[in-house]
Symmetry: C2
Subunit: 341 residues, 2 copies
């Protein structure tokens, strides 16, 4: 295979103020990097787009360092080995790596995971069998801990995290209530087996959600924040658990919203209802749980108990627009960029 | 023993708006109640005053029903049996009951706990060996779970909950940092063995607290809210635990404070630091933990590892003023009303 001449990559051009805009990104062409001993040159096949990337574009303190202006946007990727300098890999191997928004990358062979294209479509390692699926699995089972018959609510429920949360909740015998934006997404949740599905764009969303949770809410898997959180909070039962893995509604805030200050009321609610509100990043649970996750989730996919939906956008240079849309909930399923054929 | 002619009691005269005032309480004299079979007539010796009572005076939804206007103020009490209609008790027995703000009460024999005056001063059943001590024990050990060398911060630290939290943290090998109001209280914390003590009234409180926690904060035992919480929050380490048992600073709020709305920022902090914020009421843990608590705490008191301080006010009719002062932090140690000799 002859090597391509250039690596196309997308770098952070400027830190966004509020919602990212196309001008916050810049497409560059640079020479293809050269792998050293123990490294692999990868042709990227799929790039995963995920809400957490918004946090990395900002300078604010978070669980990971910000991307420097001028650096390649980060992201999980599936790539094909096109030059191996490591005895464990041959050309044509497909690997999971964290190579970011680019068409080619060099990766340390010790930092990639070889994928078996016969076991599952390789891009599922970025979705239902990857970080988003594991976020759902670990957060729901380690923090949410739904009991049989309890009510689990999740928003962004057609997304890769939310859809897994709802389906795993069902497997555990809980009642799953999904929140999504728009009638197509709501219909899809019903197809996935959610017990109820509510459209947060409906004017009577709060009343619909309350009606969908006649016994209150025992687990709210928080991945959106904002209006949905405000609506769920009064429905939480005593001893409810709230795993918090994302707050997409907050990511573009440039300052605290106008008052009144509802933080004291939030703390009071946590007190009077004996709530557990627990932030987490899936990486916390990888060591103990990832192997169980892969076994469980692979089985559930095989036997049809967990289904997943992908929203695939062709071409790396469409990543900025797709990402901007993701933050507005415009994707429908796991958002992937198909970088190469 | 001849029975007294009258029961003096203090009822809720009006629901407070903001800080309670003396006119929210009313002293009444009513006939001494008559015990039926299985009941005990008690002469109350000590009444416990605790911050939670403020919540019970309001109509807002909480973990317990509000006190009706005109009803006796609730509260834990130690009383002496002066007429027993139950074979398990004789006159002179001293019992723990929940008889409220009054000099005499009838209690169901099945709802009281007989105290051994030789084992510990009977009023400790309202403090270090009672609900406040157990709140500290269960919240710290079941939710806070401090590890050796971790930093535990607690406010209202000379109070019955806070002082137990700090001393149990020390027993578990953690570093204890106490927050209190005024130099006398801060000095007392040092006598109790806290590793550091900070006065929240000092203008440079935030800087002092940060200096007292050079490795950040792993457990913040939340019993006050307000400015202290605002100051601790930025110091919390990744994976910090925040048992929330009280929010005294919030109890007198009549509406949400002026903006900006800091609730989204609080949730973001919970997310990015993987915090656990967990409300609780001690009763949740009674069944599993109270017997262990009594054994552990009695031992710690006997061997001097846990010390306690009482703030005893004479006379039931002084209870309203003492309670109003409690909400302002004017007590110094466990606040008790000595109702009878």
């Amino acid at each position: 295979m002859s090597l391509p001449a250039e690596n196309t990559r997308i770098v952070l051009a400027a830190r966004p103020v509020g919602e990212p805009t196309p001008s916050d990104f810049r497409v560059e062409s640079v020479p293809i990097p050269v792998p050293a001993e123990g490294e692999l040159l990868l042709e990227i096949l799929y790039l995963s787009l995920d809400p957490y990337m918004r946090g990395r574009m900002s300078e604010a303190e978070s669980y990971a360092d910000p991307i420097a202006v001028g650096d390649v946007m980060v992201g999980g990727t599936v790539g094909r080995v096109i030059e191996s300098k490591d005895p464990g890999f041959v050309n044509g191997d497909v690997v999971l790596s964290f190579s970011g928004w680019q068409t080619h990358a060099v990766a340390d062979a010790g930092h990639v995971r070889k994928l078996d294209p016969h076991a599952a479509p390789v891009q599922t390692s970025l979705g239902v069998l990857g970080m988003p699926g594991f976020t759902a699995y670990a957060g729901l089972l380690e923090i949410g801990r739904p009991e049989k018959g309890e009510t689990v609510v999740v928003a962004a429920a057609t997304g890769p995290v939310g859809s897994a949360v709802g389906q795993i909740a069902k497997i555990r015998g809980a009642r799953a209530v999904g929140i999504a934006g728009g009638p197509d997404k709501v219909a899809h949740l019903r197809e996935l087996g959610f017990d109820a599905a509510v459209d947060h764009r409906d004017p009577d969303f709060a009343a619909q959600l309350a009606a969908a949770c006649p016994n209150g809410v025992d687990v709210y898997f928080e991945n959106v924040g904002g209006k949905v959180w405000d609506t769920v909070l009064p429905l939480l039962n005593t001893y409810a658990r709230v795993p918090v893995c994302g707050l997409i509604a907050n990511y573009n805030l440039t300052s605290a919203p106008e008052g009144p200050d509802r933080a004291p009321a939030l703390m009071s609610r946590i007190l009077t209802k004996s709530l557990t509100v627990r932030g987490f990043i899936q990486s916390e649970f990888v060591k103990d749980q990832f192997v169980h996750f892969l076994a469980d989730m692979s089985g559930w996919i095989t036997d049809g108990r967990v289904r997943y939906r992908e929203d695939v956008v062709d071409g790396l240079t469409n990543a900025p627009d797709a990402f901007i849309g993701l933050l507005k909930g415009q994707n429908f399923g796991k958002l992937l960029i198909k970088v190469a054929q």
